[in-house]
Symmetry: C3
Subunit: 281 residues, 3 copies
């Protein structure tokens, strides 16, 4: 299987599908072609979220504001998967998640630089560099349903490298009361999804004890987001009336600021990259 | 084949594709992930329209404003097809159409409740409940190219149920003149499509005698929509100049209020759910 | 393989997928369903761009403002490919490109009219005419991985025809200085892509000598677009700071007026169809 992800919208991804199909019969699955445009960090958030749902595959992921410059193109072997991507950090958050999902730990990663001689364009390496490389990896370095590190290492168009751009998401700062319960968390909005949910970098397990069966046990069932009035900390959207604000743990495993049947980002005045202070009551 | 339909936009459906592929090699076909958001009735209109075009398949359909509440998750066997969906009515209009298309009548339907222990999230059951259930149905209750009712009944994670939320579209009220021709029809806009066509609940066969070869035979070739001036009742968009309003029978089999190369919903001031009175001239 | 392209958005293309799958097991690949709406010329630009990336296939392409009128439906054999489309010119720019890519020259094209008795609708021939015809061509006129002209000619539902609507893009007018360098080019914007890039009809090879290694050799590295101030003529977006305007040769092989990380069409005040005068400095 080769998955395709980009910020290309339409119809550019069709050129990538065609190019792959010229040299590979592998199943093609679109992840998304509406990843946040020109934003490798936000795109990496989404790839880290969805790629681990897949069985071992070659993932071709292109969000590439540096196309046509001297940024490298890379293949990252991550556990039983491979990611083909520009060397701008995009590949590493999902690679660590894929390696962890494989069971070999988040550091079971090798990186190779792609040598693509003379691409036909300077503006569309999705077609001219990444799609052909993904097909080549799939056809020449795939054995028994997983990526084959030895065959990958032997591919003439690749060379192992340690020199690449990493990307890591910021960690939130958690302040606790003397009794151990949470007082405030200083985090950041990582992405706003298509529903308008403002998804933060605060892992859900930080507050799990105040949700679900345990709500109230920790003395917290409401939270302030920045300077706004307190809103319920609940288990799902429908726990509040339509139009009401809430904070919950989303399917990504992170705290998000939402509105039931509405757009949390607007209601809380939050954009991707904004700081967010959560004050628990 | 497993078809996927939702109101999730992008990139959430990719997680569903990955989850299915972990346990099933069945072909994946996207129906749409831009179904009317949070609106099971309008989504059911579209599923009733498109699913009967498919050969027998397992259809995973998720428009689920009640996610995380105690609404059930169900599998509906409909003729030779199966629909996996939340129990909010979404499945039944397409299920009746699929059963009818199978030739066994619109009531050839069985309903099963899905028991999914402890889904990973309370906000994304497309990934955590419906996609795994669709893969399970496809892998364990599919025989010779159709759903297998006996094997479905035997699936441990399902129990037959009669207790489910149904959903039916309103019927229009037709008033006729003494000579049998139509005077007025009181209907409703069911959906507005991406072209801006306002599609009503008035079946085309009600007025077929005033269209096509029969136009004029019934004495009607113009119609008023609510209080607007009369517009032509024609066989297709291009029968009027670009920018002009028209009423026609659309490909769904229902009367729709359109503008050639324009947006009928705006021109006629109609939204989904609005009443619409058609007065024939 | 059957590719699908249209301006139908969502969910209409799902009906085409279902219809094909009822009679053909061929792989289905979506090209795009967001082609410029109701604009066969702009849609033809995109199809000419992407279809030649594919291996031999049956391409079902529907941008059809004349649906329901007496415009014909056609199959175009182009080299080893076939295009099924309305007879409004849409098929010919990509057909010439496919024939050229096959290596048999841009005129290796045969045209057949489709006879589809009594389509179910007058508004959705994607479902009722073109998808069934594409499946029929694929199932009955495909041999050893390419279209089979003899079997196509023998198909009962097709008749060869020379009477069809052609479509050609305008040629730019190039004025040169006495020393042979370019003074001005009068061209036209053919399409604006999803990034806001305004793509012209000026082939990149006209100015290749002023780009890349040769920049400066020809004495030109800046260009005025209509009455705007001069902007750099560069090899890729990232050659200028974010927000700055540029002119480059895009991946389609044509000159385009862009903004790095912005929308060139707005910055240069250009729409599809607008004339564009390029004055070289």
């Amino acid at each position: 299987m080769i998955t395709l992800a980009s910020d290309f919208g339409s119809p550019y991804p069709a050129a990538m599908r065609g190019v792959v199909r010229r040299t590979s019969d592998a199943e093609l699955v679109d992840v998304s072609h509406d990843l946040p445009r020109g934003d490798p960090r936000a795109a990496a958030f989404w790839l880290r979220f969805v790629l681990p749902e897949f069985p071992p595959a070659v993932h071709c992921a292109v969000v590439d504001p540096g196309v046509g410059t001297d940024r490298a193109a890379i293949v990252v072997r991550a556990g039983e998967h491979a990611i083909v991507a520009p060397d701008n950090g995009l590949a590493f958050p999902p690679a660590r998640a894929l390696a962890a999902a494989t069971g070999t730990g988040p550091n079971d990663i090798d990186v190779f630089e792609i040598h693509e001689a003379d691409p036909a364009s300077t503006t569309f390496h999705g077609r001219d560099v990444f799609a052909p490389a993904a097909a080549r990896v799939r056809e020449n370095a795939w054995t028994d349903g997983t990526i084959d590190g030895d065959r990958l290492t032997a591919l003439g168009s690749l060379t192992a490298t340690d020199d690449r751009v990493d990307l890591r998401f910021p960690e939130p700062l958690v302040e606790r009361d003397p009794d151990g319960t949470i007082d405030t968390i200083d985090g950041e909005v990582l992405v706003v999804d298509g529903f308008g949910n403002a998804i933060t970098n605060v892992p859900g397990n930080v507050i799990t004890n105040v949700l679900g069966n345990a709500v109230g046990d920790a003395g917290h069932d409401r939270v302030r987001v920045n300077d706004a009035g307190p809103v319920p900390l609940v288990a799902t959207f429908a726990a509040v009336p339509p139009g009401d604000r809430l904070v919950t743990v989303g399917s990504h495993g992170f705290l998000e600021c939402d509105v039931n049947d509405g757009r949390g980002a607007e209601a809380f005045d939050l954009d991707a990259g904004d700081p967010v202070r959560l004050s628990f009551e």
